[in-house]
Symmetry: C2
Subunit: 345 residues, 2 copies
């Protein structure tokens, strides 16, 4: 089959690899119907150390089950399934607590002999724990929105859940990528009183307004901080969602959070150390939360709104590409030409 | 009157200063009945830049009201009062939310023309908002426990409240100072399932066991982390209270917190930057919370237990000194000879 590999900065190739086969009795083989490129994929796209063997890519996909191991029970042949960006056994204590990203037997795609979603097919470990079957045809117009449940919608939702957003809460979302925009949507779903979106791409912030942003701040850094503070009577907002992962976004978050408030990070941090001392987090009693979203835990909650059309998170896809054009999809997302690219294998 | 000033590292002096007088109509003058030395006082005792004018000291005191301004209504002459370690107006939105440490008109003692508690008397701004009158005589044996409501008991309680400790929660407390020990007591009050105290002074950890610690780990650093992990099946505890403030304690907290758990800091951080990236907090979805405790918010909750003797937080005082011996009190606490010194002005 064809699969996407990254060999070094900017070096995306689609190559031939062996078809995946059942390895463990709890595996399923899923033919990929739609995958996509993630903002997170752009981090290694910028900075991975070149390797001759490359790394398989993609952690978001919707597909059809084409084979199952002898110990797979809740997932059936020909099911259309959503695959979360982490696979998990679904039975350990962490999974039962809803923290599937810390599953005792789970893991990330593209590691340890498991491939990625930017391919024609994937071997899925712990199929019963990992995959969520949906009664939808593979040519349904709902597919893009269902695909966001693999990662970006669940990640935006995790950000606001971890921050305990409620009707009393004012929220700033830093970042107008897919996760930031779906954090806006999620904040509205939890009835946030006000949602300030910080982003400078008008087509994206327009979608953010459609998703429920009440204010948009295009400035960044100190200017952006001043603008949010002016909007909020000098205080900042109760919650700040950091959906970027770079240090300036973190600094911006510290700058616009209200005393006693919460910074919730879902952009994968591209730094190890950051200010958390008296002058940043401690003095004003700021809580820092977030992490990789256990999206598997949220699919049951978010799926009904997608199925009945109340929300359309799939609007974050503004471009489509065949698998053979995926290198151009990376380029277009990296240059901010495209917000998020849907990939047809 | 006599008051304690710090002039540089190790240089504590008791000097004559003018008696405090009413300055604003919302002020009260409080004659100090008992004060004490705080672990936090040891930070400037180690490292303050020497100054010829010195800094007044002390932020914990219980006293008797000797004068009030024309606009003081809930506090009366001759009331015995508890003074929180931050003064606050009691009426602004932050105070109403219970975050008195961020009061819009409040402040810390020993700054801006307001003196400190290690003195014969103190001018208290916003007396109605700041002071809590208690129907107790000034020679009551309850005074030491009431004095802990100024800071260390409320601070320990803040740590466990911010971390949302409940009957489902396992807790590690790092630090066997007064705040750590009272975090143990507070965790037991919130029914924590298990409380591991990390400390290496046996007399203190014995008091910790009396306050409710179920386990004591004397090792520090990597050995200490390994010991807590061994006690907890390899996982660490849901909550870690960091009651020290130095970087090794923070690193220890990161080492013993369970995925999805909470690190709650109440030791004033003596660092600006620290690890919060993928490998420390982000990957395992660790929440970092805490800050200076709004102890004023907790006095109503904690006072009944002190008054009826259900808890005796005053047991953290293991030495008494007159004001003129306060330099020796600092020395004894700094050398860990004394846990916490009660001061009689």
């Amino acid at each position: 089959m064809r699969a996407t590999y990254l060999y070094g900065p900017g070096d995306v190739r689609v190559i031939d690899v062996p078809d995946p086969v059942i390895h463990d009795a709890t595996d399923a083989i899923v033919r990929v119907v739609r995958a996509c490129v993630c903002g997170t994929d752009l981090h290694p796209y910028h900075s991975m150390a070149p390797t001759p063997q490359g790394s398989s890519m993609g952690h978001e996909f919707v597909g059809v089950v084409e084979d199952i191991g002898g110990d797979v029970h809740t997932v059936k042949m020909r099911d259309l399934v959503i695959a979360p960006f982490v696979w998990s056994d679904g039975t350990c204590d962490y999974c039962r607590e809803g923290l599937h990203t810390s599953c005792r037997h789970g893991g990330y795609w593209n590691a340890g002999g498991v491939g990625g979603g930017q391919a024609e097919a994937v071997r899925v470990p712990f199929a019963d724990g990992t995959l969520v079957p949906v009664s939808v045809e593979e040519n349904s117009p709902l597919i893009p929105s269902l695909l966001t449940l693999s990662d970006v919608y669940g990640t935006g939702y995790h950000a606001v859940r971890a921050a305990r957003v409620s009707a009393e809460t004012t929220v700033t979302v830093i970042g107008d990528g897919a996760v930031g925009l779906l954090a806006v949507l999620s904040a509205r779903q939890l009835d946030a009183r006000r949602v300030v979106l910080m982003g400078r791409h008008k087509d994206r912030t327009d979608l953010g307004r459609e998703f429920g942003a009440t204010d948009v701040v295009a400035e960044r850094g100190e200017e952006g901080i001043a603008a949010v503070r002016e909007l909020t009577g000098g205080d900042g907002t109760h919650v700040v969602i950091e959906a970027v992962g770079h240090m300036p976004a973190y600094q911006q978050a510290v700058g616009v959070v209200r005393p006693g408030g919460v910074i919730s990070r879902v952009g994968v941090p591209q730094y190890k150390n950051a200010p958390i001392g008296f002058g940043s987090l401690f003095g004003p009693n700021i809580t820092l939360t977030g992490g990789p979203a256990p999206v598997r835990a949220y699919i049951d909650t978010l799926l009904p709104g997608v199925l009945d059309g109340r929300v359309e998170p799939g609007k974050v896809f503004d471009r489509e590409a065949g698998l053979d054009q995926i290198a151009d999809a990376y380029r277009a997302m990296d240059s901010r030409e495209a917000l998020k690219v849907l990939v047809r294998p």
